[in-house]
Symmetry: D2
Amino acid sequence: MTRIIKAGIIGGTGYTGLSLLEVLTRHKNVELQFATTRRRKLVGKPIHREHPNLLGLTDLKFSLYDPMNPALTEGNKTLMNKARESDVVFIGVPSGASFNITKDLVGYNTKIIDTSADFRLKDPALYKEYYNREHPLPDLLNEYVYGLPELHREELKKAKYVACPGCNSTAMILAGYPLTKLQGYMNFTIVYNIMTGSSEAGAEPKRASHHSERSGVARPYYVKKHRHLAEVRQELGFDPSKLSASMFAIPMVRGVECIGHVFPDRTVEEKELWKVFREAYRNEQFVRIRAKKTGGPGSLPDVKYVRGSNFCDVGFFVDAESGRIGVISALDNLMKGDVGNAVQSMNIMFGLDEATRLMDMVPSSLYE
Amino acid sequence: MTRIIKAGIIGGTGYTGLSLLEVLTRHKNVELQFATTRRRKLVGKPIHREHPNLLGLTDLKFSLYDPMNPALTEGNKTLMNKARESDVVFIGVPSGASFNITKDLVGYNTKIIDTSADFRLKDPALYKEYYNREHPLPDLLNEYVYGLPELHREELKKAKYVACPGCNSTAMILAGYPLTKLQGYMNFTIVYNIMTGSSEAGAEPKRASHHSERSGVARPYYVKKHRHLAEVRQELGFDPSKLSASMFAIPMVRGVECIGHVFPDRTVEEKELWKVFREAYRNEQFVRIRAKKTGGPGSLPDVKYVRGSNFCDVGFFVDAESGRIGVISALDNLMKGDVGNAVQSMNIMFGLDEATRLMDMVPSSLYE
Amino acid sequence: MTRIIKAGIIGGTGYTGLSLLEVLTRHKNVELQFATTRRRKLVGKPIHREHPNLLGLTDLKFSLYDPMNPALTEGNKTLMNKARESDVVFIGVPSGASFNITKDLVGYNTKIIDTSADFRLKDPALYKEYYNREHPLPDLLNEYVYGLPELHREELKKAKYVACPGCNSTAMILAGYPLTKLQGYMNFTIVYNIMTGSSEAGAEPKRASHHSERSGVARPYYVKKHRHLAEVRQELGFDPSKLSASMFAIPMVRGVECIGHVFPDRTVEEKELWKVFREAYRNEQFVRIRAKKTGGPGSLPDVKYVRGSNFCDVGFFVDAESGRIGVISALDNLMKGDVGNAVQSMNIMFGLDEATRLMDMVPSSLYE
Amino acid sequence: MTRIIKAGIIGGTGYTGLSLLEVLTRHKNVELQFATTRRRKLVGKPIHREHPNLLGLTDLKFSLYDPMNPALTEGNKTLMNKARESDVVFIGVPSGASFNITKDLVGYNTKIIDTSADFRLKDPALYKEYYNREHPLPDLLNEYVYGLPELHREELKKAKYVACPGCNSTAMILAGYPLTKLQGYMNFTIVYNIMTGSSEAGAEPKRASHHSERSGVARPYYVKKHRHLAEVRQELGFDPSKLSASMFAIPMVRGVECIGHVFPDRTVEEKELWKVFREAYRNEQFVRIRAKKTGGPGSLPDVKYVRGSNFCDVGFFVDAESGRIGVISALDNLMKGDVGNAVQSMNIMFGLDEATRLMDMVPSSLYE
């Protein structure tokens, strides 16, 4: 008998919501209870009114929910009741908007999978350092598991509350994680150079993502200290004074391509890297290693070959002349960089095969 | 107990082969026996060597098969033996290259699903008119079913040999088919205007599809008589002297967007079109009707909302001032315009749920 | 001695304004007096603050002007005084917004070149039919010359007020114009199929042109009666009941590709088309004929080969089977489809070499 | 009286040749004598047969020249005679192919501007280290000036032979050059991260640049030691053991976006960087500084704002937490990264205004 999980989506109109709908409408163990919006004119309308691609795939209609609007007490309460009766609720709202929702949802039987950044950090001081404000619900932080199965699978099995990493964090962590396993070794400088697609900026129209303006760019945007580095620091223990990152918007919709340029204080051989990468990801279904010396398509991670899937491809090289190590990762920002982690976490939390539904999403090298 | 179908792919390196592999490696009722290549250096190599996206998804290795090369008798024989022991063989070679393969494969128990144009036409005279040569195996033509389930589902249930339509044919036929059901009506002039992506031209590098040259084009290519019109004529009975088409290469990789401008000899109302489109596709899982007057994303068929899936979206309008009817279709040229038809046909031929595997391929509006 | 023309731009932040700035900052006979904005925070700021590409090319700063805002009387008056002292003012505001400006500017020595649609039609009744309202300044209509040099060069030489056609109108008119010269012949049905880039929709961010949503589309938008057809009717005399058009947004930023499918009531030979196209454009510097039968890049008009320039490429073919004629045009919507016409008109109005500055803008086939 | 320079192009079909033609056909001081090809079927054909964008811009026809083919002695000799009578010859052949041409051309009055990498390095030992072979004409190396006006303007004024840098070299050198002027300072580690467009790979069709394969990539290609680093070392004196680079192919046709991540051994302030960047480029017309802290479009160099022009935009930042400096450059690989340097050098060599023709090529932010 198939186990059926009652699931709801808070934030059904953004790109996280859209991607959750794309994945969950075809998850054989999931029965979607609701997907919310705060746009009044969408309430009661079929999902495909906002997401035309989903025509014919679900009969679900948008529910009203606007946690920021006190006048909405009644509507919000109705939705919250539905949420509390669900087995799991996915929160797909922008970072900062999750607190009000969470406050009303904790303490019930419902599990929470939050894709925002609001509960990812364990240490309120770290939150304050990177987000420039006090965490409003610091006591909850330790109840959350960081929803990256490759690092926290055992905890996820017992987790009730999960905060899933976003695309840049996932890319930096999965590229860098094997470095933590290098023999007698943790002292290096690392700078991540990250290339991102336009969907990372979300569904809200604005000039920087207007088609005419966003097409054809190679635009530096966060070039210095970045909030997501807090997660790399937490998860990998990298020395914050030796960790930095710069991001570039490039002409694509989906995908994150990430390289960590690493300057170690001793010579590292490529075979050492092979060892720690294999060790780190030997049993992972969704992390694939590409580190061929041959060059050419597919020899190192390229977003081209993960787009549309839950794979994160990782690779590495040693530049003998300079002693520099390169660690590379490529993922689809809406899948392994977002809802892929969320659904993979759900599968684990509910004792399902971890790859359910996700492995059906085969990457095509013919998506742009 | 799950029925397992032993399937093979002849032509595993082209885009049809790639797409078949993307679909069939995750089809729960299919066990892939082989995928062939004629490139010697690929033989025995894992599939992902040529198709990096498939790393981790299949252990299959390329088999040698080159029907055009007589010196290869031994290698070809070995493969042909495997083929004859399979339940079904997909032929994914360019049009014109299927004859030699077919000759060696007919008369055994193996079913054939051919994605080339070689066996699509019933009438050898029609073949000669559009392909400028005699059909080499005319006696076989009547043993083939035209592999478009929306028009030939009942025949497919009993079919042994199937010739599936390509992307332009499928787009023109599914857009035009409801017109054949208009009351007391078959006299009109129709010109199809078709926009295509670069993957339609196949995997072979050449100048016209070199990235720098192909990017940013809106390039007329087949503007006059086109071979594929023979299929429209065969399937819909449109008067050949009143049927024409022009094609434009536009800046995308996947997708066909097709509009038929129709000039009828009487006034047609939009509600009549609603009636015949509904009638034609009421029970179809993979044909969705979009014909909203509101305008805006999703109101009419747009490749954006079918990309990556087996859907063909269709729509229509009446331009009251001129009396012109527009019939529109949008599909993914590698799915509903190619291997989607092939796998949907296989599902029907083997008594499976017609949507098996195919409905899992949810279109994302965030693919380019 | 070089003749210097004092010119101003009303509407300096939109894409027409941007393109005017790109052209005029390097026009050796033009001295830019002002470029306006109604966004307060831009006033007094250098042009490159809004248009980063123009850094280093001009020292001009934005001037305030907001004709829709009565509270601005003072600021508007100041600008209007500058405008009235200029030799020519380019009006680059959206259609409908030009009336208030024009009212204040006519009757002075200043020439006006208006790129909006507000003064393109001669007949107020035609305006009403297509724009669904009375023209607010009908008496002015006959003082305007339609700013398409290929059809109105002689009038432009003496013109004081010019209304330039936009991209779709220019494309339809230049493709169709030679048909008016066919011997003993004006009876046919024509449907234009037009493919457009995202910059046509202007600089205002909105969902339909959000990068993630606009990328990868082939989206039907105006499929029926369209305002721009009024201009085709006025300029070419085509029978309105036999004239129609459908438009598709395709994945590019700049460019219009237009095909007119023409169904004549007699057989037309390709050599007749050669004759009338040559006759129509023999002396035109910016209209190039492409009508090779060979196929391949460059054999027919393709936006790829006009992008960035003031060329409009035109071509044609006869489809012998169906008797259909195809007339094709390709242009850059911001140049020959907008400010190219405006500057070419200015050159003519002021007695300059018509190609001044414009011919320097060589199209590159390596722009996307 | 306008000075007219007789110029020829060896290698007229590649992208360097194409770009030279785009620039030089409209250079008021240049009279093109010839453009060569080694493809027999193009010889005697108009330029636009191969480069459709140039239709109407030049009457030049392709001349035969194939230095690699000894059987061609006669044809080659004819061309070489023309070359020797020209004031200047641009050599636009791939690196390695210039030697045979050069051998036959030195010693005459003709000046040479070579865009290949064959004569860029002064030191034959350096050539051998990076190109893995002996330089075939080492005695000539010192007769060449490195054709980057920002570093070698005075030498260019007297130069007879010039070897112009390519796109990656120009990007790395112009981003890094100001660092050489930092007070009491030359000790740091630098890694360049470079993003490139598809036109950099040239006009030859191959799988890696097939449209379907090249679209949508973020593909690491040269991740380790790279030949172009030799030029950075030569021009800037950077310590080779602390200098490295990784390159990524991204989804665009034109453009190079380059960031140098710099790890200095003392704290560097942003105002120091302002000082040295201003000092380095104060008098440069084609180098623009962008280093705003505000973020947003245009605050730092972005290929979007240089595409189509000869500008190289440069910028910088200091990441206070890590002490890392970022130096950024953006250029059009076919202009400032190739023929822009060549034509700017020519202008200087012949005593013309350095910006002749080049400043007319205004970048548009609406090219992709």
